[in-house]
């Protein structure tokens, strides 16, 4: 057995050494989260380094993909918190009903001293709509329950829009990406129809849009989490309607306070690591959109990444739309704007955002 041990030592140490060297070089080359003295002091350094190594690991993508294939075939098809069903990937996230209460309380605080009309919609993830494909024991609190909790706890002056019911009734359609948690342009359009009516407009009918497929190989955030090769890639659409109105200006302010020109559709994003940035570009804290619509109406939207897909539909109805990132929303006050300047405010919050930000 001495020979076996010697060979094992050489083989295993060779694998470890090769993987270590390549991973360290990758980490040095890539711009990952940096380790600071503060990180080390509070014990977060190990987690950050582990994530960095995982991200830049020697043949990391191939290893993740292989692990996903093995995981999906060998046992419960649950890989890195993502459930693999026959036709789509679904995220398994833990929720609690308090998320709904806390979210409603924050929106109520905003509406308390606000004279305009407040509209609220919570957009479920794909797991919220297709949750019946998941084993019951994986989900303790459903997104439907949280959605109901929010609606029950919202102040009477806030006008709720039940996106869950709208989308659930249309679940047979292509309203959610198969490889992502977010809705498609069509999903957003279906909710837009109700939103426009509530805001006091006649929604643009479906047949007036020219639908352009800008990508047919979109692999969303759930694919990134699993690397599951057998999941079908998705189609990204743009809905265009030429009614004569145009975008006059579209300016975004990032977290550093830098203002830059952006566009409703950032085609360059399709070549990036996050093609979903197609809608309104990279994350901005504040976006101002001015259009040629001549009605002097302005709308304040407070939303997360989920809202980006719905905004283009609303530009046909307002001369000005200001969008504040949900990250800048903290109950009563909102950074970047004076809320008294707006007659209407629309909250569009995704369940992922609600779960991450209102869980305590």
């Amino acid at each position: 057995m001495k020979l076996a041990e010697k060979i094992t030592s050489i083989v295993v140490m060779s694998i470890i050494t090769a993987a270590s060297v390549v991973s360290v070089i990758n980490m040095a080359v890539n711009d990952n989260n940096k380790i600071t003295l503060k990180n080390i002091a509070n014990g977060e350094a190990a987690d950050i380094l582990s994530e960095n190594i995982a991200a830049d690991f020697f043949f990391g993508n191939e290893l993740r993909s292989a692990a996903a294939q093995i995981g999906a075939k060998a046992g419960e098809p649950l890989v890195n918190g993502v459930y693999i069903t026959e036709d789509r990937l679904l995220s398994i996230d833990e929720h609690s009903l308090s998320e709904g209460v806390n979210c409603a309380n924050a929106v109520n605080a905003f509406a308390k001293d606000y004279e305009g009309a407040v509209y609220f919609t919570a957009v479920p993830t794909s797991a919220g709509i297709y949750g019946d494909k998941l084993p019951s024991y994986l989900i303790s609190v459903t997104e439907k329950q949280i959605s109901e909790e929010i609606l029950q706890n919202l102040d009477v002056k806030i006008r709720p829009i039940d996106a869950y019911t709208i989308l659930k009734n249309l679940s047979e359609n292509y309203i959610y990406y198969r490889s992502d948690t977010k809705w498609t342009s069509y999903g957003a359009y279906c909710v837009y129809r109700t939103v426009a009516q509530k805001l006091g407009f006649i929604p643009v009918s479906y047949d007036k849009y020219a639908i352009r497929h800008v990508s047919d190989n979109y692999c969303g955030n759930l694919y990134s989490r699993t690397g599951y090769m057998e999941s079908r890639s998705d189609i990204i659409d743009i809905y265009e309607y030429d009614d004569g109105t145009e975008i006059v200006s579209c300016k975004g302010t990032d977290s550093q306070g830098v203002v830059q020109d952006i566009s409703l559709y950032d085609m360059e994003a399709l070549k990036s690591d996050n093609p979903y940035d197609l809608y309104l570009g990279k994350d901005m804290e504040f976006i101002e959109i001015e259009t040629t619509v001549n009605n002097e109406k302005s709308l304040l939207v407070i939303g997360d990444e989920t809202a980006d897909c719905l905004i283009p539909f609303l530009t046909k109805h307002y001369s000005k739309i200001d969008i504040v990132s949900a990250d800048c929303f903290n109950g009563g006050s909102v950074e970047h704007i004076n809320k008294a300047d707006y007659e209407q405010t629309l909250f569009i919050l995704g369940m992922e955002h609600i779960s991450e930000n209102f869980n305590s």
């Binding site: 050489i10 295993v12 991973s23």
Partner: protein
């Protein structure tokens, strides 16, 4: 940082081993101490400082016990043990919450390995007090006994003399490193391939509201818990022993295939061997020595097992688990001695262990009894689609875990070693080790580590 993380396997371990290798022999203890300090620093500065203080307190207590007059020896012994026990209880329970804020460690986190090094420290002080061991003036060597990183997480509990003997007789060569890596990959595979899969199954059952659980689901849940507990503990134990061997130190394994045995006392003797030995040596034996009455000794035996249960978890359920295990061994011995009934058989042992372990899994006595009721149809639901779904997706891993928890594979290898095919092992062993390492790496490549822990020790 745990052993089952990419950071440890592909950065910390190879760099540590390389530094250790190139360091002259007389400085190897120093480099190992420095590496262990860095390992502790990955928990944060304040936990690392806490461990240094912990070592210092026990070191000074040891010196005091050894050097002061005999009639005062019990004072530093009591102070040292009290300090150790309070630290253990404070980090393993919600008591002494202010200590968490003092050390800057969150309520649910504690210095990894505290359950192990507390017992080592108490054993060291007790041995010096009894005169079985001399105190060590070398602080670095003493600190290594408590916080040496290859032994820190679920390492083997040995006496200080055994540790020093092993340290002084290090056998450091490529063959030993190979043996160590074999043990490490075996432990890693136990943790990642088996324990983590079973953890998911157990979590699925725990997520089901207890009133909606079917009998089949309850059985699946508890079987997954027992197997997961065994493979987590023995996996980390194997990893620790393997790492120690890579650094030239050979310590015994803590588990000897206890699950599928024919008697409960065989299960007990093969389960966490050094831990059980520690409780026998430092608690059962001193108390029993003062009593000749066999019934009192049996009572002490049961009480010590109750304390052993509390070592696994500070809950009424864990204490009850230990107590029932002790009572089961006493009853089994009694029946055997009377030669009326000879309880034996894998099914008898496994059924008893399964029912007893429900209390450890549930954490409270009342929930334990309720769960046992559900296992026998108390919810009026013998099986449902959720249980069928769980069984369908986990049957392979359960069968694999059952096979791996028996000694069948080890016996097969032993037979091959003695046969004319033994040469094939020289080829297969490195291949299997490499494949297991790559698969485990793939499983860790999502988040960089295995995060599912059934028990924090």
């Amino acid at each position: 940082m745990t052993y089952s993380s990419l950071l440890f396997i592909y950065l910390f371990f190879p760099v540590s081993l390389l530094l250790y290798t190139v360091t002259p022999n007389k400085l190897k203890d120093w480099i190992l101490y420095g590496e262990s300090l860095i390992f502790c620093c990955f928990m944060g500065f304040r936990p690392a400082v806490f461990i240094i203080i912990y070592c210092l307190v026990n070191y000074l207590a040891g010196l005091s016990i050894y050097h002061i007059p005999p009639k005062y020896k019990s004072i530093p012994l009591a102070v040292g043990i009290l300090f150790d026990v309070i630290m253990l209880i404070s980090f393993r329970s919600s008591y002494f919450a202010y200590l968490h804020s003092f050390t800057g460690i969150a309520q649910n986190i504690f210095p990894v390995g505290i359950s192990i090094f507390t017992l080592s420290a108490i054993g060291y002080l007790a041995d010096i007090y009894r005169g079985n061991s001399k105190c060590d003036k070398n602080f670095i060597r003493f600190s290594l006994y408590l916080m040496m990183f290859p032994r820190l997480i679920m390492g083997t509990i040995v006496s200080y003399d055994t540790f020093v003997y092993t340290l002084r007789n290090r056998r450091y060569n490529i063959s030993e490193i190979g043996s160590g890596l074999l043990g490490f990959t075996k432990g890693l595979a136990k943790k990642l391939l088996i324990a983590d899969s079973l953890y998911s199954l157990n979590s699925a059952v725990r997520n089901t509201p207890i009133d909606e659980l079917s009998a089949a689901g309850a059985w699946l849940g508890i079987i997954a818990y027992i197997l997961c507990l065994y493979f987590t503990l023995s996996g980390f134990s194997d990893m620790s022993c393997g790492l120690c061997r890579c650094f030239g130190m050979k310590f015994p394994n803590s588990f000897n295939y206890p699950l599928f045995t024919k008697k409960i006392r065989v299960f007990v003797s093969g389960w966490h061997i050094q831990l059980v030995h520690w409780f026998r040596k430092y608690i059962t034996a001193p108390f029993s020595a003062n009593f000749e009455n066999p019934y009192v000794n049996k009572l002490i035996f049961v009480c010590v097992w109750t304390i052993t249960g509390m070592w696994y978890g500070f809950s009424s359920g864990a204490a009850f688990w230990g107590m029932l295990l002790g009572i089961a061994v006493v009853i089994e011995n009694k029946l055997n001695n009377q030669k009326r009934i000879r309880p034996s058989g894998i099914i008898y042992t496994m059924m008893t262990i399964t029912l007893i372990t429900v209390f450890l899994a549930q954490g409270s006595i009342s929930r334990g009894f309720k769960y046992i009721g559900i296992m026998f149809g108390g919810n009026g639901n013998l099986a449902d689609s959720a249980a069928a779904h769980m069984l369908k997706y986990n049957i392979v891993i359960i069968l694999l875990a059952i096979y791996a928890s028996t000694d069948l594979f080890r016996n097969t290898i032993s037979r091959v070693k003695e046969s004319r095919f033994k040469g094939i092992l020289a080829v297969l062993t490195p291949i299997v080790s490499a494949v297991l390492l790559i698969i485990c790496t793939a499983l860790m490549s999502f988040s960089g580590q295995s995060e599912s822990m059934i028990m924090m020790l």
